[in-house]
Point group: C2
Chain length 513, copies 2
């Protein structure tokens, strides 16, 4: 059938090409060719080649009825299309849709781009972590509250630390107190479209979140619980596996001792193994260590060496290395060239997989954009964002030919002010052209979003064709396992697991109608 | 040199391709390949292959100094980048820049996509046309003022017509009175980003403008003056030639007589010839008749037949046919299939050139987007907007292979709310990939913008690489003549004329430094 389509398409093309001037299409030829050209165009999209079973087709019709109803309602009734608006407004509307509930329940495969300090639900931090003993807060430079564990109130500091539980009690209104914490940590407590006139302003506010909360989450008992809680939340959102960026800033205990990266790896292994033992329908969690772009090259070289050793020693836990932080503000990847080439220059060369944040910018032709080139030269296994890739046609071709997966984060890009209306997200064109895209949820804590579900929803409703159906979502789930760091045996297991969950989801959803 | 580059690039590619796993690039190889890949990527951009003369290079350095200063100022001082903001705010800032003044003075070739009822400066309408005798206004349905010529105040109407000059006198404040007219006609009197939450709302307001002013401009003496005034304004902005969409709604005189399309063609010819005689450095004006998508097929068939005859009879004035109006709201092109195929089905087939508005939408996979397919099947000579083309990879290839020029209107797309930050304009990726783009200024009267200059400026500062230089602007000017409807002899003349103006501009600008 596919061959036939190609043939028809070719003859259609020939016909067109042979008639640069006047032509004599009959009305019926016209409509036939029109429909073939539309089908052909649509067939280039991610997932378009998947063939759905009878049961899947029934479920597909539910998805499409919901999707079309949303679009038609906007086009015909001329109402605002909520997936195109600020998440500050759209979140509650999205959550109420049946389509969102379906996508939330749907098995989505792997979350390949999330960050350790912003992956658990914000509610859990506010309603659970800040209620623990030994949690202190202080107003930092009269600007915002920061949180941290101490054995006792620190004295040698200019910041006036106070036990959170004491402050909560004194406030006289626990709900209001907690709401204020929530608001101060969420990027969507107010409308980012108004508060952040551009990406730089958004980044300043975004980075504040990590100052506020980073140390709180790096207290060892909380870090362990957070790993468990995260896996639990992702599993409940029907996600089967996680690769987490760890921007290792030092796990600590109440004695003030700070532990090294290897200790962190062992913790992740311990919690992940325990979680998988408790929930055998979850594959586990791997770590991508994240270097920060404001560090100098020698620091990064030390990290690379350390991560290389850990990658060799814990191949089932350590997936590789990445560099993060505001690309526009700090060093380009080329500055770290020698450090990042280090593993490949060993004898024999060592392959340390790189998962690099690159091209997360709305500017074109700046060093941030050309980090895309470095990722190619550094033989990246996957890249994060690549927002600007569509403006670099030759690089696009290299990414496509080399099948380098792109980790796309719709919501993160919107809130960090790269794009307002997600229908203009540049990845829409790459999704339409079957690039190796995976969808992830980046920093969901401060985005106050669900594990993958909101991002999948937005990709489906705002970043793809009205015709793009369940095959898109299914392929995105398959992509996430296919492009994960699991080895072949683990991948087969993950795929089998996902498939059985998928089949169950299809059966349930079909029956529920 | 070009061959050498390709060779180096190939070897670089081979090297990359041969090392899917670990690789052993030396730091110097790395930097060499990096710079080659960036140059190669940049070389695919519109105009990248132009070789500048020594004088042009000097002028180029002025352009680039200005462009880079704007970008760097935003990146380093973290100020808002005005080309990325609403034209409501950016206009005054842009106008003050030396870069804008340079672009305004620069010979820009042809304006290929403008509309008769919105091509002259708004100031001229307010400060000149509304001061004429016999201009009446009335408040339409208590919503907005409409303007029209009458011999005397109409009585058989529910609208309370009043002479504008009387109302102006009675107002007691002429400036305020005129400012109110200006505001009521301009789409940027207030911020479109706030007033128009989406494209549909913007269109409603946009269409109002034509109800307000259309009849005023179709009064024959004014229409003639407007043609002259338009050519004058465009010539003063260093534009050499115009193709204007005429949405022929009936020229009239004070007796109430309405004249046909042929009369309109004769008028355009008369005024254009007179203007060219007065200013031999101007090529003139051609007409593209614009059918409206809310008409039914039989009406459009009648128009096509009429325009076919006029095209044959006045080949130097009538360039062809187009269909306009809100694509999302009215019929798709396929509805008019039989009417639009009519010329090609004559014996012998008649080639009536089509310049079709298509894909002016932020939606993907809707009928509006598939108008792109119809334009291909109808063998369009050029297309207007094609905003959604980048989301249709197979159609993109056909447009590229068949070299179909795309008439891009940055400002119109922003104000009509397809895109907010023009750095996200989808045409940025097609400009980077050397599609046949021409830049135009669509409905500049109500956008309150200059002939081409603002759109060229925005393309240069927001829709291209930081590295994109004078070669981009020069090629865009060349494209506009190359893709015009002028015949080969006329094109040669236009190109020679433009070239001599270009040389003068380069010489003057070089000397002024």
């Amino acid at each position: 059938m596919c061959n036939q389509l190609v043939r028809v398409w070719c003859s259609c093309l020939v016909l067109l090409m042979l008639s640069p001037g006047a032509h004599t299409l009959t009305p019926s030829d016209y409509m036939k060719m029109r429909s073939e050209m539309i089908d052909d165009d649509e067939s280039s999209r991610i997932g378009a080649n998947l063939v759905l079973s009878a049961a899947e087709l029934k479920v597909n019709s539910i998805f499409m009825k919901e999707k079309r109803a949303m679009i038609e309602s906007s086009l015909i009734n001329r109402t605002i299309y909520s997936p195109s608006t600020s998440f500050y407004y759209s979140k509650s509307e999205i959550d109420q849709t049946y389509l969102y509930q379906l996508i939330h329940r749907m098995p989505k495969g792997a979350a390949l781009h999330i960050h350790d300090q912003s992956m658990v639900s914000l509610d859990w931090i506010v309603k659970n972590v800040t209620y623990r003993e030994n949690v202190y807060m202080c107003m930092w430079r009269k600007e915002y509250l920061i949180y941290r564990f101490f054995r006792k109130k620190p004295t040698k500091t200019t910041c006036d630390w106070k036990l959170v539980n004491d402050a909560r009690k004194e406030s006289g209104d626990v709900n209001k107190f907690d709401l204020e914490i929530h608001k101060s940590l969420s990027l969507i407590a107010t409308d980012p479209f108004i508060d952040f006139p551009d990406s730089q302003v958004a980044w300043t506010r975004f980075i504040r979140f990590f100052y506020q909360i980073g140390k709180l989450l790096y207290y060892i008992p909380i870090f362990k619980e957070m790993l468990w809680q995260t896996m639990n939340e992702f599993r409940e959102a029907n996600i089967q596996y996680i690769e987490v960026r760890v921007s290792y800033l030092g796990l600590y205990d109440l004695s003030g001792t700070v532990y090294n990266r290897e200790y962190c790896v062992q913790l992740v292994k311990e919690i992940s193994d325990a979680f998988v033992q408790r929930y055998p329908d979850f594959i586990g969690m791997k770590v991508i260590f994240l270097g920060l772009r404001n560090h100098d090259e020698s620091e990064i070289l030390d990290e690379v060496k350390e991560v290389m050793v850990l990658h060799q020693k814990y191949p089932d836990v350590v997936a590789g290395y990445d560099m993060g932080g505001n690309e526009a503000l700090y060093h380009p990847l080329s500055y770290y060239r020698d450090a990042l080439l280090y593993p490949s220059q060993q004898d024999p060369p060592y392959h340390l997989p790189y998962f690099l944040h690159v091209g997360e910018t709305i500017w074109q032709g700046t060093e941030t954009g050309y980090n895309l080139v470095d990722a190619l030269l550094l033989n990246a296994t996957r890249v994060g964002h690549a927002y600007v890739l569509n403006k670099h046609p030759r690089l696009m071709k290299l990414y496509k030919d080399r099948d380098i997966p792109l980790e796309v984060q719709p919501l993160s890009n919107q809130v960090l002010r790269l794009v307002s209306d997600l229908r203009n997200h540049p990845m829409a064109s790459l999704i339409a052209n079957n690039y190796s895209v995976v969808i992830s949820c980046d920093d969901r804590t401060t985005l106050d979003s669900a594990p993958l579900s909101h991002d999948f929803f937005l990709c489906f409703t705002a970043m793809s064709s009205e015709r793009a159906d369940l095959t898109l979502l299914k392929q995105l789930a398959i992509n996430s396992i296919r492009f994960s760091s699991l080895d072949d045996v683990q991948k087969d297991r993950a795929m089998t697991l996902w498939q059985s969950k998928w089949n169950a989801f299809i059966a349930e959803t079909e029956q529920s109608e």
